[in-house]
Symmetry: C2
Subunit: 409 residues, 2 copies
């Protein structure tokens, strides 16, 4: 068989490619190297004269709040600017709900059971946080315009042990779904039975476009405010895939009431985040948000061709075979690939030919993909040449898996 | 009355001095300004070639572990190197015990009551973390060589709801107490009834000496290891008062078993700490621990004269009056002052004359000093001239408070 022969030649070639996570490439990282040297030994103050070297300023530099507010579409006072990891503040916010409840509610850890809604496929690290903290994960199907809101509305209205939902509203991980304005309005209007229900809105890819005319999206917090429901959401973002993933700046936005609660809670866990690094970000972008948007176009120029390699190879080699489907995302970091009953086998075949993918099932709670169909492809880290080789291995593995499945049936 | 007249002249002078926290002065911060520029745009890799800009390396750079291990007297593999705040990892570790227990034990949040021992006077932020997380705070008296170990041993042996104790073993906050080797050995040999009891050992001032021949102290983890009790402690430190408080590096040390548990838990709350900032610290100190020790001598040169101003003024103005006592610490950041029944009044008098001190009672759990006697004096931030003025106000206020108290009796 042709593809079997081809697969053996891949194995013989001794490839060694890791595409397991959505990591920026060294060329992308180099776009931001100027940040390493943008402060001089005398530049440690903000414009208002605050000494960023010392303790204090719990919730982030006022200038950093003003700078990052447009990224989440909120007002500076809705924002806190934190350390290098949005996962860290998401963990903190959920762990805080476990130990101390939300805005005075009963601590979630005091319940026998609390549940979190997980749109699937979704981001493994979100699900893992909730699982680790002892929550029960409830799958909610993703649709073309976001989570199935009929299901979400029903579950939160009926069950007061449902305390949260994880969302990546723009270019969802892994499906690349852009939540529609209607879905966002339905989120803004949610009427949960549990008063301490919160939407964990991780806008990780809000400025991470792959096209020149990116979609515009409503701001959940603003929409919720309009209908008197501003406390429904916690919103998160970071510069991890804007500047340097290891040393970026994360942020959180929420209503006035939530912020009052969160800032008080925060005061017990830190004296302040790294303000010097916030100052570096302000200096690197010249304090102008449009410079950040221009910066993202340089990322786009480097990674859009990689997404084309993935999608073109899938179209060319698997198009019309009827064995699989995949996304052609307009932004974000992933191509989502579905081939029923074959995901584990494809990941295994790829691995045995030297291409490490995200584990099959990783995009589902507890790592269990009920249809064993979804694979998350992360094209950004390899070079274009490496990526083409990896995709050649991938489509060959997909065909082999399809043949094996047919023979077994 | 002479001191009443003097006090009025202080009020008229319109002073405005804030001595409420242990903050390094701008001159101290300037010692480290080179760290802002010590990386070039091409220097983002460790010696082993790891790209510090990208994701990964959950528990800190191997080089940073090797560099900081001598600070806590441990082996590099005992250490994780974190973000800018040791308070943050202490909060995380205690919050984690609430949500997930310790090494597989029942989550503390599932108990009706869990207690933490608080040597008093002590660090307000330690006590506040435990109080915020819902723990009951139990006072333990401090002695000249550390906490009263008869009390500690009895409480942990008898009561399995006693889950932790807060310690600052070197130059304790605020008493400046250096725990004796005997006390450390007794900690190492603790036999708690609760198997998930941990000593939270915050070695915040381990290299922060004010004398040329600093005391040497046993390493708790090593002593505990010798007696087969290595899991008894979590140890913490940071560079907050070595480099820049806002943008330093924190670390945590623990036994192999604890570390295995902690690193797994950590993987849910972050992808990694700011490795670029860890690299900056390595470069700034040339990767040599003795350079950090030399650096601390520059801090000593700046702050030891300030401690002299405080202690000399107290000796000169209050010595022999029999109304108060105070410490003459060999390191750390505070002078601890005791005047029975007068602490609140002295702090109030100072405030009304423009000198803000740490609130009276702050050094006790829940802010309640049973004898209303302890005041924490933080001499490092003001200039020497400002500090002298502040101390003049302080001793005058102390005398006034003593007179008022006598008259009221």
């Amino acid at each position: 068989m042709e593809c079997e022969k081809q697969y053996k030649s891949f194995q013989a070639a001794g490839l060694k490619l890791d595409m397991s996570r959505g990591k920026p490439s060294p060329a992308q990282l180099a776009l931001t190297n100027g940040i390493l040297t943008c402060l001089s030994e005398e530049e440690f103050q903000t414009e208002s004269g605050l000494d960023c070297r010392n303790y204090g300023c719990l919730d982030g530099l006022p200038e950093a709040k003003a700078f990052f507010a447009p990224m989440l579409g909120v007002k500076p006072e809705d924002l806190i600017v934190c350390g290098n990891s949005s996962l860290n503040i998401m963990y903190w916010a959920m762990s805080l709900a476990m130990t101390n409840g939300i805005c005075g509610s009963k601590p979630w850890a005091k319940y026998d059971k609390v549940k979190v809604l997980c749109p699937v496929p979704g981001y493994d690290r979100h699900f893992a946080v909730s699982q680790f903290l002892g929550m029960e994960l409830v799958n909610v199907p993703m649709q073309a315009d976001g989570p199935d809101m009929d299901v979400v509305e029903k579950l939160v209205a009926e069950d007061d042990t449902v305390k949260a939902i994880w969302c990546v509203p723009m270019y969802s991980n892994p499906g690349g779904v852009v939540y529609s304005d209607e879905v966002i309005r339905r989120f803004a209007n949610l009427k949960p039975k549990a008063e301490d229900f919160r939407i964990f809105w991780d806008n990780a890819y809000c400025v991470h476009h792959l096209t020149d005319n990116p979609p515009k999206q409503l701001c959940l917090l603003e929409e919720a405010r309009k209908v008197g429901n501003a406390d429904i959401c916690y919103m998160f973002a970071s510069t991890s895939k804007i500047t340097h993933p290891g040393s970026g700046v994360a942020m959180m936005a929420a209503s006035e009431k939530n912020m009052k609660y969160l800032k008080n809670a925060l005061s017990f866990s830190t004296i302040g985040y790294d303000k010097i690094n916030q100052l570096r970000h302000l200096r690197f972008f010249g304090g102008k948000f449009e410079n950040l948007i221009e910066h993202m176009k340089k990322h786009q120029a480097l990674i859009a061709p990689k997404f084309r390699i993935v999608v073109d190879t899938l179209n060319r080699e698997l198009g019309g075979l009827g064995i699989a489907k995949w996304t052609d995302p307009k932004g974000g970091y992933f191509v989502s690939f579905d081939q029923k009953g074959c995901a584990k086998r494809i990941v295994q075949l790829c691995k045995e030919a030297g291409v490490v993918l995200t584990g099959a099932g990783a995009t589902f709670p507890m790592g269990v993909d009920p249809e064993d169909e979804n694979i998350r492809i992360s094209p950004t880290f390899p070079t274009e040449a490496e990526l083409q080789k990896a995709m050649d291995v991938f489509v060959c593995s997909a065909k082999l898996a399809a043949v094996e499945k047919t023979l077994a049936e």
